[in-house]
Amino acid sequence: METLLDVRNLRVTFRTQKETVEAVRGVSFSMGREKLGIVGESGSGKSVTCRSLLGLIRPPGRVAADHLLFDGLDLLQIDSRRMQHIRGRRIAMVMQDPKYSLNPVMTVGEQIAEAYRIHARASRPEARRKTIEMLEAVRIRHPDQVYDAYPHQVSGGMGQRIMIAMMLIPGPDLLIADEPTSALDVTVQLQLLAILDDLVQERGMGLVFISHDLNLVASFCDRIIIMYAGRIMEICEARDLHKARHPYTRGLLHCLPRLDTPPGELPVLQRDPAWEEGTP
């Protein structure tokens, strides 16, 4: 498999007057055109890792790494103008809540068309045509009507499809989805994942799927990275998750209530300080 992204020894620190917080502490992984899941609890550094790939960490945050190679290009070395060409066009990101990511005073169609016109320098009618095509691709039933709707007029699931349409319209090589379905109902979540799954397959994209839901990621992705306290605890094949070795991964799996086990006291995760130091 060709390597699309190669991250070596990524560190992200936030220095405030009181203290320095190390949000990501030496993360290394590489991926091809596959579905890669990143799982961890809140504060584990999974979102910060992905934001630093797009250069979205602002001061006082600082990003350092041996390299962040994307398609042979070191994202840390290039200037902000060249980064703009990569951000959105080659690496796109879908955030958790469409309500906050969409402009409330612009129709959703105009927003998607704007994104396309900037990236492709297309004319207005061309952008409109392409937008409606894209809305159809994310299985929105009446794309003409949705084009003229404002974000508050659409449901959460539809809003997230619109975000995906907007992100995919420049045809990126890598899509980063940060908890794209956590705010949605399970059935809507399933439909949205099917859309993502198909698009990734058809277009041969790489997908980084960030989530706190271990079982969901295991059923959706090819490989899983498990993060804790800014470090990678374990990388495993999704189908082998139940064979995971690391006590943290096992602890996370065990503390979930399940339908097929009798109720009783749930095992509580016992955190080992050694995990923070990165010694397994």
């Binding site: 706190h212 271990l214 979930l256 209530p257 509580v268």
Partner: protein, 262 residues
């Protein structure tokens, strides 16, 4: 303990009226843990809000502890029935210390012995006395939800209404809070109604479960039926299969269930 008959809740009026809850009936025995599951907009939280007196736009019968309820509730009622909300970040006053958050209900109900009650409540939810003078922003999500539970318990209620008490928490913290709730229920013989979108959480906590869709209870079932994965209503079956994780085929077979057709 709780008996609800033909509960209707309508928001707005005329052509724009939205029937959030339609003809909902159920009973909960004393010391029982009853679950309500459903997706967003199913009306599950609205039912809880009616029961605890936060919603006045309802009709039907609601009898709690032998007393028929009217729109306006008494102080004695609120001592008996307490609620724990979903978002521990939003339900605690950001500028009140834990001490003040816990002492307010004691003062309102004129219970006295504030000092001992606070220490006892903190003890019971597994927070030590060191947490007493902290502000909510100095606590983690799980600790905040423990404070919210302590605030409900400090009045020694007999009924606790839980609205998605763990959905804003990490799974490891969720396990701790669920264990805490189970322990409290047993020790004090409390009656719970637990509302959640998570089937596994409801199955873990409850013996009987009502499944809601679009304001209607489509099915009431025992937890064994859910564990056997053998519910009767197709909506419940779909919910069950969707919560098992990603499955390309299941995603293609998702149907819209319009409650008025069933």
């Amino acid at each position: 303990m709780i008996r609800v008959r033909d509960l209707d809740v309508t928001f707005g009026r005329g052509r724009r009226a939205v029937k959030a809850v339609q003809g909902v009936s159920f009973e909960v025995a004393a010391g029982e843990v009853f679950g309500i599951v459903g997706e967003s907009g199913s009306g599950k939280s609205t039912v809880l809000n009616v029961l605890c007196g936060l919603n006045r736009w309802w009709s039907g019968t609601a009898i709690i502890d032998g007393e028929p309820q009217v729109q306006q509730r008494s102080r004695a009622f609120h001592k008996k029935v307490q609620m724990v909300f979903q978002d521990p970040y939003g339900s605690l006053h950001p500028r009140h210390t834990v001490d003040r958050i816990l002492s307010e209900p004691v003062a309102i109900h004129g219970l006295g012995k504030t000092e001992t009650r606070i220490m006892q409540a903190l003890e019971e939810v597994g927070l030590g006395p060191t947490f007493r003078f902290r502000y909510p922003h100095q606590l983690s999500g799980g600790q905040r939800q423990r404070v919210a539970v302590a605030r409900a318990l400090i009045l020694e209620p007999r009924i606790l209404l839980l609205d998605e008490p763990t959905s804003a928490l990490d799974v490891s913290v969720q396990a701790e809070v669920l264990n805490l709730l189970t322990g409290l229920q047993r020790r004090r013989n409390l009656t719970y109604i637990l509302v959640s979108h998570n089937l596994a959480v409801v199955a873990h906590m409850c013996r009987r479960i009502a499944v809601m869709n679009r304001g209607i209870i489509v099915e009431e079932l025992g937890v064994e039926t859910l564990r056997r994965q053998a519910p009767e209503h197709p909506y419940t079956r779909q919910l069950l299969s969707a919560s098992r994780g990603y499955d390309r085929e299941a995603a293609d077979n998702i149907e819209e269930f319009d409650a008025s057709l069933s």
